[in-house]
């Protein structure tokens, strides 16, 4: 089936999968956003316990999606993996550091004799929430603004500044995306609390957080989109593979790929609809509208970054070192083999959906936690 596809078609197929994984990751980072709200929404231990336990039943999904996102990128576009991870060393290390802290915090927080005390684990969760959202957003921002690297004729890469990735945070557009993701996930995290927790006070405070974070998110998101649509983009000449700067490249990509543009518009409208439902009407299904919108919007942004003859990981040090999906990809054979593995994805989504449904059938409440022996 996949053997008959051209290399170019397989590269596009895999870029679509990567884009989808990236979009799902941003959706699932409501866990991280929620973690940054532990001290704001909860005012006592009982409330904090409800928040932590609601997120604690989902944290592994975001964690696993990040690992799979990394693995899939490695297998399908290894030149990106080697260039970005080896070059933007510090930004990735800080992101990973946050996830290390997260992985132990839920399980250890309330265990007797836990050495550091519950407060420290809650701070760990906050750190993970902050670093993961802002830095992943900032790192993805470089897909549109570029990074200072050089790739030699043997495809071995070097980062040309000693800040090794931290320089990305100095770029307004990168930072606006990082902050947009931060406030977006705080908004979706608040919506999740309303969906998952049976507690009037928490729901009321969460609704307030939806309003505040939603508005701040909109400011940064519009700033990012404004800059994106008006900036020069990194275009590839399909005949020569030469990279050049094209005015309004990303706007052109949207217009030249109407389906992607529609996805983007529907996504943004769903996010706005969910925001209004959550912030003003206090509806618990706001979460599902918003996260569907998040997936569509992020998915379309990834597609705009890599398709339609665009360099998805541009170099602002040496334009010709920029990575395109054609240059960065694995071989036809590997992409084919991996494509067969990708057929498992619907089954994975099915059992995740089942697990989500059975575990959230009944909202988390104080009495529900008392019944459960495994409590964070």
């Amino acid at each position: 089936m996949f053997e008959t596809m051209t290399l170019s078609a397989l590269q596009q197929y895999w870029w679509i999968i990567i884009s989808l994984l990236g979009a799902i990751l941003v959706f699932l980072m409501f866990v991280q956003g929620g973690q940054t709200l532990l001290f704001q929404i909860a005012k006592n231990e009982e409330e904090r316990k409800l928040l932590v336990n609601s997120l604690g039943r989902k944290w592994e999904l975001a964690f696993t999606t990040l690992v799979t996102f990394g693995g899939a990128f490695f297998a399908s576009f290894p030149l990106f993996y080697s260039t970005s991870f080896g070059g933007a060393y510090w930004i990735w290390m800080f992101i990973l550091l946050g996830f290390i802290l997260q992985a132990v915090s839920y399980e250890f927080r309330k265990k007797p004799n836990n050495f550091l005390g519950p407060k420290v684990y809650e701070i760990f969760l906050f750190i993970n929430g902050l670093l993961a959202t802002v830095l992943i957003g900032t790192a993805v921002g470089t897909f549109f603004t570029g990074s200072p690297f050089f790739v030699d004729k043997f495809n071995l890469s070097s980062w040309m500044v000693c800040s090794h990735g931290l320089e990305a945070a100095l770029n307004t557009q990168n930072l606006s995306l990082g902050l947009a993701v931060f406030f977006l996930t705080r908004m979706t995290g608040s919506m999740f609390f309303i969906t998952a927790i049976d507690h009037d006070v928490i729901n009321k405070r969460s609704a307030k957080q939806i309003l505040i974070n939603g508005l701040v998110f909109l400011v940064f998101f519009l700033m990012f989109i404004g800059l994106l649509l008006t900036k020069n983009g990194f275009a590839v000449d399909p005949a020569t593979s030469k990279i050049s700067m094209e005015p309004y490249k990303y706007l052109h990509n949207f217009l030249q790929m109407p389906f992607v543009f529609v996805l983007f518009l529907v996504g943004v409208l769903l996010v706005l609809f969910g925001f209004i439902k959550g912030a003003f009407l206090k509806k618990s299904n706001a979460f599902w509208f918003t996260v569907t919108g998040v997936v569509l919007t992020v998915f379309s942004l990834f597609l705009v970054a890599g398709l339609n003859n665009t360099a998805f990981y541009p170099s602002n040090y040496d334009l010709q070192s920029s990575l395109t999906i054609a240059r960065a990809s694995s071989s036809h054979y590997t992409l084919t083999a991996m494509s067969y593995v990708s057929l498992l994805v619907p089954f994975i989504i099915a059992y995740i959906w089942y697990s989500w449904r059975v575990l959230t059938k009944k909202k988390i409440s104080v009495s529900e936690l008392e019944e459960n022996e495994h409590v964070y």
Partner: protein, 509 residues
């Protein structure tokens, strides 16, 4: 040694070793305990006896604590291939990335989805669905091990690929050769069974402590019965897979085998060193004795390595300096061809940039004649293919001795468990308790043999570690090394404190 004296390569290796060693402190228990829990829950479902549910829930709590820190140390390992070994990621990513991605898609989601049902689903799903979830967690954990071990086996025995001069990397040509190579199958079976042994020793050790304290008698005897049968079967299989793993090493990594045995001069009908003390002054090419003392089983190494008691087993000096009598070429020859391969590849790339087809074809022809030795072109001297012999030798021998000790221990414990007198055997219980760390030590030593014994190669005969690193400053890696060392140590202390406390509290009535 002053920190700055150590190169980027050494710091990158140190950081990876640190992360891998910490990670492997938690993985074996996850792999083995997940099955032990699944077996216990199966008995609960079959018998309906609430005591088995109590057992299951207690070991699940222990599993959860251990799993969390395993995940924390595991995430960094995957990304370190990119952050610290970026040249490696490009040069072999076409092959190596696939099992890592499959691990995520096939195993991690299975594990992380069903673990939520396993912990929180007792009152939310039916008993059988819950049991299925517990088995899925066990299968997911072990599938994860399968794919990462396939990837690691490929580093030791690179198959199913070809070097593409256009992309300047190795590319996969046969997925099944990579996934189902005898090396990969042996590595997987040997590693997971060693993990089952560690988990069994852990459960037996904890139960021994309870019995010594005269607490949780029924709980402990039942847990012990499951663990000792699981452990004994696993350890017997472990010995079998150990033999086939060593056989694979003899065929594919003769230098590693020579280092494991401290064998400098090869001979026919070579004996196996059961116990020995190396002469630390010994260097390849000198006339010093290899051992200060050794007890040897005659002809056994030849028999185990080549299934022929009189077979020639090459030593370190045969491999480095060559032995024409046995058709072993000196490394210097391979280095010459490797250097030529690099020159031809560079010529090919230069000619391609200039669109000089004739020069391209000529360079490509030259390259094809020497490409199998490309990796040797990056070595600085023939002796650099010798790994750290004492570390490999002692790690291997201590691991093997411990492996046989574990079999004996399981047999003795099983005997007293069957006679229902185990709680009276204080010495045996104490021995079982102090054996817990020995299980971990043996398991870590196995990895030291596998990884140190492969040096200087990141990919055996293809890519040395010196060519595989990212272009970073050594100071950047020093900082992250120290950061991870502190963080992982704090987390380990925390984990142990929590674990000890949970064990002290015991199962909930």
């Amino acid at each position: 040694m002053h920190l700055a004296d150590i190169s980027l390569v050494d710091w990158s290796r140190a950081q990876f070793a640190l992360t891998a060693i910490y990670h492997w402190l938690f993985v074996p228990l996850t792999l083995g305990l997940s099955f032990i829990i699944a077996i216990m829950e199966s008995i609960y479902i079959k018998t309906g006896n609430e005591e088995w549910k109590k057992l299951t829930k207690f070991w699940m709590t222990i599993f959860g604590i251990n799993f969390a820190i395993g995940a924390a140390t595991g995430i960094i390992l995957e990304f370190e291939f990119g952050t610290n070994w970026s040249n490696y990621s490009w040069m072999v990513g076409d092959i190596f990335g696939a099992p890592l991605a499959i691990e995520g898609i096939m195993a991690f989601f299975l594990e992380s989805t069903f673990i939520a049902i396993m912990f929180f689903g007792w009152s939310k799903v039916g008993k059988k669905t819950h049991l299925l979830s517990t088995w899925m967690v066990a299968i997911g954990s072990n599938l994860s091990a399968l794919w990462i071990l396939v990837a690691n086996a490929w580093m030791n025995n690179p198959v199913g690929m070809v070097f593409n001069p256009d992309t300047a990397r190795n590319e996969m040509v046969n997925f099944w050769d990579v996934a189902l190579s005898p090396f990969a199958i042996n590595k997987f079976l040997h590693t997971i069974t060693s993990s089952y042994v560690v988990a069994a020793l852990f459960v037996i050790g904890v139960c021994s402590w309870y019995l010594l304290k005269k607490r949780q008698i029924v709980f402990s005897k039942r847990s012990m019965a499951i663990a000792v049968i699981f452990g004994l079967l696993s350890s017997l299989f472990l010995a079998f897979t150990g033999d086939s793993s060593a056989y694979q090493v003899a065929q594919k990594q003769p230098m590693k085998l020579a280092a494991m045995e401290g064998l400098y001069k090869g001979q026919e009908g070579t004996g196996l060193v059961a116990f020995g003390v190396l002469n630390h002054k010994k260097k390849a090419g000198d006339n010093l004795e290899e051992y200060l003392f050794k007890i040897e089983i005659p002809k056994m190494l030849s028999l185990l390595s080549y299934r022929d008691a009189n077979a020639f087993v090459p030593g370190i000096e045969d491999i480095v300096y060559g032995n024409w009598h046995y058709n072993i070429e000196p490394v210097s020859k391979r280095m010459e061809r490797g250097t030529q391969a690099i020159i031809s590849l560079t010529k090919y790339k230069d000619s391609k940039e200039k669109n000089d087809t004739a020069a391209m074809n000529s360079a490509l022809t030259e390259f094809k004649q020497t490409r199998s030795d490309l990796g040797y072109g990056y070595l600085d001297k023939p002796e650099s293919i010798i790994p750290n012999v004492p570390l490999t030798f002692y790690s291997f021998h201590v691991m093997v001795i411990l492996g046989f000790y574990f079999i004996l221990l399981f047999v003795v414990i099983l005997y007293f468990v069957l006679r229902n007198t185990i709680e009276r055997k204080k010495f045996l219980l104490r021995l079982a308790l102090i054996t817990i760390p020995l299980g971990y030590i043996a398991s870590e030593l196995g990895w030291i043999v596998a990884e140190v014994g492969r040096q200087p190669w990141a990919i055996q005969d293809i890519l040395p570690v010196s060519k595989a690193t990212s272009h970073l400053s050594a100071s950047s890696v020093q900082i992250t090394f120290v950061l991870f060392a502190i963080l992982f140590t704090i987390l380990l202390i925390t984990e142990l404190r929590i674990l000890f406390k949970q064990i002290k509290i015991g199962p909930k009535e």
